[in-house]
Every structure is written in structure tokens, then in C-alpha cells.
């Protein structure tokens, strides 16, 4: 794991490569390094880190979305990068609001991310611009709504116990 | 003359009887609940849009023909094999000629490369 100073070095490297405002923040929590970046430059930073950084992270273990509902830039995409020679992990995080949920795709840099991106689009509605065929992967193609968003209802049926029988009169018919 | 054919006729009759019985009984006794989906082709549970007049590749047909050719050859060998002693050596020579003829055909087909799946 890159320790706190290693993370700062990577952040500094990215800052001077892509300009100062791309890196929004760095968090080092429970020996896991997270580099927070602007949504538009996500593709360049991940591409840079995967190929031509000083210590490249050549493998993308996972790409997943998340919805931090209460606090403001709600949706986020996480790129779990992995350097196999050094057995080193780094997470590049991108936060964005619901209405500008758009991130450039990285399938041309790392084709393995195409299923992940389709799933993140399917579950959160984050559009990956430039993805070869961005369709729903898990839900039926014509499904409306993005299930894993916090404001999406859990669905299913209300379970009938004695205390809430009142709301469902004559349920036993 | 009829005596000698009796067993064969009885066999034939029984075969037709039971075959027909099972086929017809199935139709009679089975309950019928027609529904439109039942008549559509089964394609792993997905409505199938495979064109009905689809033309398969030539290799399928070729392999089928070759199989039938050599299968009939074996069918002809059965009656001879059963009564080889009664027919005497003439039938033996006859069969060997028959087999070698077909074997030549087999070698030709094999060398021609028709057996490999294309």
C-alpha cells in the first residue's frame, strides 16, 4: 500500500502533469490510499497512472459507483488500481452531482472495464461517454430508473405483521 | 408357404399394434390445453427469430450422406453374418468383395478430405 507520503508523491506527480486543480484531495484511511480527482480529467489521470507514471499501476481491479446521498456531490466513481509487481493498490475517486453524472470512458485504455462501466451506468445512471455499447447489463433493457441510487425505493412487498394489519384491511381474502 | 412367414407376420402385427397404441393413447388420454406460445419454437426460453427457411452449411449434409452410405453397408452384412455357415464359402468371398469395394470408396473419401469438418 502506498503510505501517506507515497500518496502525496503520486498526487504531486499528477498535479504537475495535469495542472493544480485536477487533484481535489487525497485521503489515507486504514492503510488505503484514495486520490480524488475532477470528473473530466478522470480518464487522463487513470490512463497516466496505468501507463506512464513513474510507478505504473497496470491493472484495474474494479470500477464501481457509489451514492453518498446526504452530502452534496452525490454520485461517485471509484477506480481501484493495482500494481502487480509491487503488490500496491491505489483508489482514484471521482465525485459528481446527479445532473452532470458524466465521466469519459476508459475502455480503450483498459478493455476490462467495459462490463463495470455498463453496470455502473445501469445502477447509478452515470453516463460513460465514448463507451462502445453503453446499455443496461443487469436490469432489463427497458427498465426505468437507476436502482442503486439512495432515493430509489427498495421495492418489494410490504410484509404483513399484526402491527401493520390495520393499513391492509381484509388482507386474508 | 404361409407357415414359414407366420412368425414374421406376428412380429409385424405386434409391432404395429403396440407402436400405434402408444402413439394414439398419448393423443387420447393426454389433456389438451393449447396456447399460442406452445407452438412457437423453443430457443432456450427466448422468443426465437431464426428464419424457418434457414439453409445449413454443406458439411452437415455431406457427413449425413457418408454416414448413411456406410450404415447401409453394415445392414447388408447382418443377414450374411447370421447364416454364414449355411451359405458356404461363396458368400464369404462375396462379402469380402463387397467390403473391399466400399473400403476403396472409404479411402477415396478420406484422402479427399471430406471427413474433416470444414
Amino acid at each position: 500500500m502506498p503510505d501517506a507520503t507515497g500518496l502525496e508523491l503520486v498526487a504531486a506527480e499528477v498535479r504537475d502533469k495535469f495542472g493544480d486543480e485536477t487533484v481535489v484531495g487525497t485521503h489515507y484511511y486504514r492503510e488505503a490510499a484514495t486520490l480524488e480527482v475532477k470528473p473530466e480529467s478522470a480518464r487522463d489521470v487513470v490512463g497516466y497512472l496505468m501507463e506512464d507514471a513513474k510507478e505504473p499501476y497496470d491493472f484495474l481491479a474494479s470500477l464501481h459507483g457509489c451514492d453518498y446521498f446526504p452530502d452534496e456531490p452525490r454520485l461517485s466513481v471509484h477506480y481501484q488500481l493495482l500494481a502487480r509487481e509491487r503488490a500496491d493498490r491505489l483508489c482514484v475517486k471521482v465525485r459528481m452531482g446527479v445532473d452532470e453524472a458524466e465521466v469519459p470512458t476508459i475502455t480503450d485504455i483498459f478493455p476490462g472495464a467495459s462490463f463495470d462501466e455498463r453496470e455502473t451506468y445501469d445502477m447509478f445512471g452515470i453516463v460513460f461517454t465514448g463507451h462502445p455499447d453503453l446499455r443496461r447489463i443487469l436490469m432489463p433493457e427497458d427498465y426505468v430508473g437507476y436502482p442503486l441510487r439512495r432515493d430509489f425505493p427498495m421495492g418489494g412487498e410490504p410484509v404483513i405483521f399484526t402491527f401493520n394489519e390495520g393499513q391492509m384491511p381484509r388482507w386474508y381474502e | 408357404m404361409l407357415q414359414s412367414y407366420l412368425p414374421a407376420l406376428v412380429f409385424l402385427f405386434l409391432g404395429v399394434l403396440f407402436g400405434g397404441l402408444f402413439a394414439v393413447a398419448n393423443g387420447l388420454l393426454g389433456p389438451r390445453r393449447p396456447n399460442p406460445v406452445k407452438y412457437q419454437p423453443y430457443e432456450s426460453g427466448i422468443p426465437s427469430n431464426v428464419p424457418q427457411n434457414f439453409r445449413f452449411g454443406i458439411s452437415f449434409y455431406l457427413i449425413a450422406m457418408l454416414f448413411i452410405l456406410f450404415d447401409i453397408e453394415v445392414v447388408f452384412l447382418y443377414p450374411v453374418a447370421v447364416q454364414l455357415k449355411a451359405f458356404g464359402t461363396f458368400a464369404l468371398v462375396e462379402t469380402i468383395v463387397f467390403i473391399t469395394l466400399l473400403f476403396v470408396a472409404f479411402i477415396y473419401v478420406w484422402r479427399r478430405g471430406a471427413l474433416e469438418w470444414k
Binding site: 427498495m154 418489494g156 404483513i160 384491511p169 | 406452445k38 423453443y42 426460453g45 427466448i46
Partner: protein, 207 residues
């Protein structure tokens, strides 16, 4: 979300089980007469032996459709090919892959909303007479996944004959489910505990 419960259109084809039981009881008490009695007797006497013979033949050769959805499929395959229980004792060992040759559909696993139309199509394409065993909590009531992705119970779109509880049910439980299905096919279904112990009147009624 209000709960709508309407009886499924029944298995179709002749009265369903409940009505037959009620009429049998009326016959015993001698209350059945007139046209009903005629039809009842005619149906019973004429076809009794043939129907029993048919049901016996069908019950002892119930071929399941090889259809694994999720974790219960692992236990179903262990029931079919495992060392401890084997369904060939009930003639249910041959799993047919095509619905045309299968008599019974074992719904082993969770039924998602994307899979439901496909299962309904498979059920429709199966030939009569056909039965459905809903194996496991997820097939019977979507078990613990009370969420957007699962159909809350397969009986919302399929007439289910036997529900096998468990998550996943043990192989012995599924074998017992097949035995119960056989009794049902032979026309003597095991009575539920209310009938067996005559404990009517204890159904939970709202205040």
C-alpha cells in the same frame, strides 16, 4: 402499496382440488343429488380405474426440466446426482433439457423480473400434464430479498403445486417434496395440517 389477491385461473381443465374434496364430503353425507350426483358418479365410476392407472403411471415417471436458477440448483443437482439421495427411486432422475419432454419444472433459485417472462414461456411450452415445484424460499416468496429485482414468489405468475421450504433446502427436503407431488398426482394429496387435525376457526383474523 395495496395488496391485491385474486385466485389464479386455477390449473384449468376440470374442477380443482378444493371443489372435488368438498363434493366428496357432500356425497358421504348424502347431501349430493340430482344432476350433480349423476355427474359425480359418472365421472368417478367410469374413469376410476383408467384415471388411477394414468395417475400412477404419471406419478412414477415425473421427469424434471433441468433448470437451475441459483443456489438451490446446487442442492437440486446434489439431490439428483448426489450420493445420499437419488430421485431415480421416484422416476424423476432423468432431467430433460427441453420443455417438450419434461413433466415437472423445479424452480430452484430466485426468480428475477428479467427471468420471469422466460420461465413463463418455458412453462407454457411444456406439454400437459405438467407440475411445478417451487424449491427454496426465494422461489416461493423471494425469501429475504424483498426488493425491486425479484418477483415476490413464483406463484405470482405460475401455478405452483409443491412449495419446498429451506434456503437452500436439504436434498432430503426436495426428495420429500417430490413424494408429496407424487401423492398429489395420484389424486390423494397429503392434507394440510388444518384438515388433518380439523383445526378450523383458528385462522388469523384481523380484529
Amino acid at each position: 402499496m395495496e395488496v391485491i389477491r385474486q385466485p389464479l385461473n386455477g390449473e384449468g381443465g376440470g374442477e380443482d382440488l378444493r371443489i372435488r374434496q368438498v363434493r366428496a364430503r357432500q356425497l358421504l353425507r348424502g347431501e349430493l343429488e340430482g344432476e350433480d350426483l349423476e355427474r359425480y358418479v359418472e365421472e368417478r365410476v367410469l374413469m376410476t380405474t383408467l384415471e388411477q392407472a394414468q395417475n400412477w403411471a404419471r406419478a412414477n415417471a415425473v421427469w424434471p426440466l433441468g433448470f437451475g436458477l441459483a443456489c438451490c440448483a446446487i442442492e437440486m443437482i446434489t439431490t439428483l446426482a448426489g450420493p445420499r439421495t437419488d430421485l431415480s427411486r421416484f422416476g424423476a432422475e432423468v432431467t430433460r433439457s427441453s420443455p417438450r419432454q419434461a413433466d415437472m419444472l423445479i424452480l430452484s433459485g430466485r426468480v428475477s423480473i428479467k427471468m420471469a417472462p422466460i420461465i413463463r414461456r418455458l412453462y407454457d411450452q411444456m406439454l400437459e400434464p405438467k407440475w411445478v415445484i417451487s424449491m427454496g424460499a426465494c422461489a416461493s416468496t423471494a425469501g429475504m430479498f424483498n426488493n425491486y429485482a425479484l418477483v415476490q414468489g413464483a406463484d405470482k405468475f405460475l401455478p405452483v403445486d409443491v412449495y419446498v421450504p429451506g434456503c437452500p433446502p436439504r436434498p432430503e427436503a426436495l426428495a420429500y417434496g417430490v413424494i408429496k407431488l407424487q401423492n398429489k398426482i395420484k389424486g390423494q394429496p397429503d392434507l394440510g395440517w388444518r384438515e388433518r387435525y380439523q383445526s378450523y376457526g383458528t385462522e388469523e383474523q384481523s380484529a
